[in-house]
């Protein structure tokens, strides 16, 4: 066997990786106290290396292998072992299944970590929604409000904002330049701040205020408030030179800011990234029971009506704890409530790798049962032999 293959398929490598994973998980869990579950997951588990940052030097030093690296090494170890080392036999069949199961499990978690999307849908009793709002991604919405009947929305997604690029949208006579994007920010009075001149707006709320970037938070009880500095300039057409309309500071939860160009009214706002669904969900009733004389929730549930715009079908569903609604490729869970039990918050999840853990865990469990059952039988046979 080639030396590299020998190393990759060695038991030592397997044990070493497992022990390192334990260390990683332990410290990752401890750090959840500081970073929150999501923050620590990104730093420790969904990364190739865990870095220690020295802000004064601007250095990032890797000091521990991250979850992806350990996962891939383990995957390589398992694959080489399962397909090169093992010889098929009744005694080894369970072990073979176990390794296959772990391979699928690792792939499944990788797929989830990359493709799983989480969003929420907040509906008031009696009203309807046909979009979900992302938990973590923001968008810059430019809304043409000229027509009082219909708003035309042009939304720039999180990924484009992050690149701080220039955006030209078909059908708009002007372009946008994302000068600065802050994933999390606070606002200060401009008079009290010494922000650099190129970080200042010259229109709207930004005339008196300035946003300052702060580190992202992953804690469950805190929230990132993104802000962006956007400059709008007209497109150069047939001899007409491009002209700057101004620079705006736009931040989530700020009042929408409007401007007029060529007799059309536009509004700028930063909000959670929306995804429109081809169906509308109406909250008919939200109920929340508590145990008598306590504040312990006994049950909460949302009675919803789904009106599918494609087929015109209407269907009623009851969403409650442990009983989500699966519709199309999305799953809706009862997550919370607010507004004196008049508003329901649904968590919306899309995970294309959803079935992988089920498959791998079935294989794994069967493998474990087979292997330990086989071992027990052999042990019993030995005991009987010894007794005889």
């Amino acid at each position: 066997m080639k030396p590299l293959l020998k190393l990759l398929s060695s038991m030592e490598l397997a044990i070493g990786t497992l022990v390192l994973s334990m260390v990683l998980i332990f410290f990752g869990t401890l750090d959840q106290q500081n970073l929150g579950i999501h923050g620590a997951t990104e730093k420790y588990f969904y990364s190739f290396f865990v870095y220690s940052e020295i802000p004064s030097l601007g250095l990032k030093i890797p000091y521990m292998p991250g979850g992806y690296l350990l996962g891939f090494v383990l995957l390589a170890n398992l694959c080489t072992t399962a397909f090169i080392r093992f010889k098929f036999s009744a005694a080894k069949f369970g072990i073979w299944m176990l390794h296959l199961g772990v391979i699928l499990l690792l792939i499944g978690e990788f797929v989830s970590s990359v493709f799983q999307e989480e969003a929420s849908m907040t509906i008031d009793e009696g009203s309807s929604k046909d979009y979900t709002e992302s938990f973590r991604l923001a968008e810059l919405a430019l809304i043409d409000t000229t027509d009082p009947e219909i708003d035309t929305v042009y939304a720039i997604p999180d990924a484009m904002l992050k690149r701080e690029q220039q955006v030209t949208i078909d059908g708009l006579p002007f372009s946008l330049s994302i000068d600065d994007y802050m994933a999390n920010s606070i606002v200060q009075r401009r008079a009290h701040s010494n922000a650099a001149a190129n970080k200042l707006a010259n229109r709207g709320i930004g005339l008196n205020n300035v946003a300052i970037e702060i580190p992202k938070t992953g804690k469950t009880d805190e929230r990132n408030i993104p802000a962006t500095l956007v400059t709008i300039y007209t497109n150069a057409t047939g001899g007409q030179r491009s002209e700057v309309l101004g620079t705006w500071l736009v931040r989530e939860f700020m009042a929408p800011q409007s401007f007029t160009y060529e007799d059309r009214e536009y509004t700028l706002t930063v909000r959670r990234e929306r995804e429109y669904t081809p169906y509308e969900i109406t909250l008919l009733d939200f109920s929340h029971d508590r145990y008598l004389g306590t504040n312990i929730p006994k049950n909460f549930s949302s009675q919803v009506l789904i009106s599918d715009k494609r087929t015109g079908l209407e269907q009623e569903f009851l969403i409650y704890m442990n009983n989500p609604l699966r519709y199309d490729d999305l799953t809706f869970y009862q997550q919370g409530f607010m507004n004196d039990d008049k508003t329901s918050i649904l968590q919306v999840v899309r995970n294309p790798g959803r079935s992988l853990p089920y498959i791998s865990c079935t294989i794994l469990t069967l493998g474990l049962l087979y292997q330990f059952g086989y071992g027990l039988m052999r042990y019993n046979a030995k005991r009987k032999k010894a007794a005889a």
Binding site: L18, V19, M22, I25, T29, Q32, Q33, I37, G108
Partner: protein
């Protein structure tokens, strides 16, 4: 016959202890407190006997299940509660508030340690148990003059996270909560403004209609009876507070849909203004109050019986499972099981010195009986709550111990080397001791939150993963016993070494299976309820650590990297991993599973981990230093 003598004696001894403990629960008094204690009331969202209310409330403020009064006499919780709710003024002087914090004690009136405390105990007892502790116990009357200050301090302290409070802040919040419970209990049956409850009811029956008539006339602008109106208003004032303050619900009514609705004692005002007369429940409670204040035991006992009849007349449902719960309280099955496990340990140890055969037989029989009592306790809890056996950290401790004892006794049957008995008693006793301390906060039979609503995947997940904990602890305990015996005695023969190795290996395989399947079931539940199979929640991470560690042990074994001592050392490290996963992750106070946050327990956990590290060090000592002849 002779070979059964020792087992029969030990079993009889434990059974006798069980019976005498049960009998001891009845307070020595002519008042029938047993009957009063079995009266069903509603608290924390479930019907429970008054006896449970008494025990849990006293435990929360006093730290004990009995109260010691200023004259040195001991009283059962129900006696204390009866006095508090029926004749509150007397209860004010009972020193039931335990205050350990020196800062808090320094602002309260100084207390001298009582003389009789020392008299009570012999010098040896004083050495073992300390010199009495009456200086830590304060009465309501002693604390009340400082109430305003304490309340302000408690409000200030509650601004902080539980983890960031200092000792004084934690203590003052606890005390103010305790005072609140005390006050609420006192106002649960009667407000105490008038001496006779029955007379008050009589007066109300005439005052209320007259007052209402006067009020109507006043509003219509006619001349009205001013005195009648003033009388009614003064009652209304008393009742406005009374209705809100009660700690538990006393008055059930059967609704049209067959469900019970419960009201507090202050609801009697509504009864009189609606029907003109109080309900039989109210009348019976009033008679109980009067009889107790007059010291009339016969009338008291008859009135409690009347009350039960009145409740039964509303609906037999009102008794719910309270009878079972009272029996459970009196049996104290987990306490008895603890006593049993200690007996097992003593028998097993003595069996190594004298009468090996007879005494190990006795140890096994006693362990089996203790397990039976332990099982009965779990059975009672399941019946009372109507859910799977594990609903909180307390019940998980009880279940971990149970699972480990079952496995240990099976091992003992298979191997018959006495080690199964020892580890059964070790793990059984220590997990029940942990549970005992976890249960110090009061009611452990709490209602399930909606988040953890009963669900097939959740119930099976919790049970399987808990059995996984049991097995890992069991493997660790066997390894521990092996290391101690091997190092310090010559009892481990090569045959025994082989069989113990087999035991540990087998249990680790078992633990691997259960902790893995348990984790997977948890993943399925999480996917059903939260939309993700795996969320890197601290508790999930803890569970996967156990699986990984078991995988590491098994691979090291298969790869031939470890032999006997290595296996034992790694199995003991499993104790550390499991205690982190079980208790440590809850101390972080984050994530979905943070239902059982604790802080004081942190130091115990650190101590436990340190002790296990010492044992690992011992296990790694070279074979020459072992007294037994260990191969590797």
């Amino acid at each position: 016959m002779k070979r059964y003598l020792a087992p029969i004696f030990s079993i009889l001894f434990l059974l006798l202890y069980l019976v005498s403990n049960y009998r001891n629960q009845t307070p020595k008094s002519d008042f029938d407190f047993d009957l009063l204690g079995s009266t069903p009331v509603l608290l924390n969202g479930r019907i429970q006997p008054m006896d449970s209310v008494a025990r849990n409330s006293l435990l929360a403020i006093n730290g004990k299940r009995n109260a010691k009064y200023e004259d040195g006499t001991r009283h059962r919780a129900i006696e204390w509660l009866a006095e508090l709710m029926l004749d509150g003024r007397k209860a004010e002087t009972r020193p039931v508030f335990r205050i350990y914090d020196d800062g808090l004690r320094s602002i309260l009136p100084t207390k001298q340690q009582k003389e009789d405390d020392e008299d009570e105990r012999s010098p040896i007892a004083a050495l073992l148990l300390g010199k009495g502790s009456s200086q830590f116990y304060y009465s309501f009357a002693e604390i009340m003059p400082l109430y305003e200050r304490l309340r302000m301090d408690a409000i200030a302290a509650s601004e902080f996270d539980a983890k960031e409070r200092n000792r004084y802040q934690t203590a003052v919040i606890e005390l103010v909560n305790g005072l609140g419970v005390f006050h609420a209990l006192r106002n649960s049956v009667h407000h105490g403004e008038l001496d006779s409850f029955r007379e008050e009811l009589e007066i109300l029956q005439t005052t209320l209609p007259a007052g209402i008539e006067a009020l109507n006339k006043q509003q219509a602008g006619e001349t009205f009876d001013e005195e009648a109106l003033a009388k009614m208003i003064s009652f209304a004032r008393i009742y406005q507070n009374f209705e809100k303050q009660g700690h538990f619900f006393t008055h059930p009514t059967l609704q049209a849909d067959g469900e019970l609705d419960w009201k507090k004692a202050g609801a009697l005002l509504g009864e009189i203004s609606a029907d003109g007369t109080p309900s039989p429940t109210t009348l019976a409670y009033a008679s109980i109050v009067d009889a107790y204040r007059q010291g009339d035991t016969e009338k008291f006992n008859a009135s409690v019986a009347e009350l039960h009849q009145a409740l039964r007349d509303v609906s037999p449902q009102t008794f719910g499972k309270s009878a079972a719960e009272r029996t459970f309280n009196y049996l104290e099955p987990f306490y008895i099981a603890m006593v049993g496990y200690v007996m097992v340990l003593l028998l097993a140890i003595v069996s190594w010195i004298r009468w090996p055969e007879a005494l190990s037989r006795a140890a096994f029989a006693t362990a089996a009986l203790s397990l039976l009592i332990h099982t009965a306790g779990i059975g009672y809890r399941i019946y009372i709550i109507g859910y799977a056996p594990v609903i909180n950290l307390y019940s998980s401790a009880i279940f971990v111990g149970w699972g480990a004892v079952v496995l240990a006794l099976i091992l003992e049957r298979l191997h018959r080397n006495g080690i199964g008995n020892v580890v059964a008693s070790l793990v059984g006793f220590s997990t029940l001791l942990v549970a005992h301390h976890l249960g110090d906060d009061g009611d452990t039979l709490e209602m399930m939150r909606a988040v953890l609503d009963s669900n097939f995947w959740l119930s099976t997940h919790v049970i399987t993963i808990t059995i996984g904990y049991s097995a890992t602890f069991l493997a660790g305990a066997i390894a521990l016993v092996f290391v101690l015996m091997g190092l310090f005695t010559a009892r481990i023969t090569p045959d025994m070494e082989k069989s113990v190795k087999g035991m540990v290996y087998g249990i680790i395989c078992f633990s691997m299976l259960f902790s893995f399947v348990g984790t997977v079931l948890g993943g399925i539940w999480a996917d059903q309820s939260w939309g993700r199979f795996w969320g890197w929640d601290p508790k999930e991470n803890g569970a996967i650590l156990i699986v990984l560690w078991n995988a590491v042990i098994l691979h090291s074994r298969w790869g031939g990297f470890i032999k006997t001592r290595g296996l034992m050392a790694m199995a003991i490290f499993g104790n550390i991993v499991t205690s982190w996963s079980w208790m440590g992750t809850n101390m972080l106070g984050i994530g979905l599973h943070s239902y059982g946050f604790m802080s004081a327990a942190f130091y115990y956990l650190v101590g436990f981990v340190a002790s296990q590290l010492v044992f690992i060090g011992l296990a790694m000592l070279p074979t020459q230093m072992w007294k037994s002849n260990i191969k590797a």
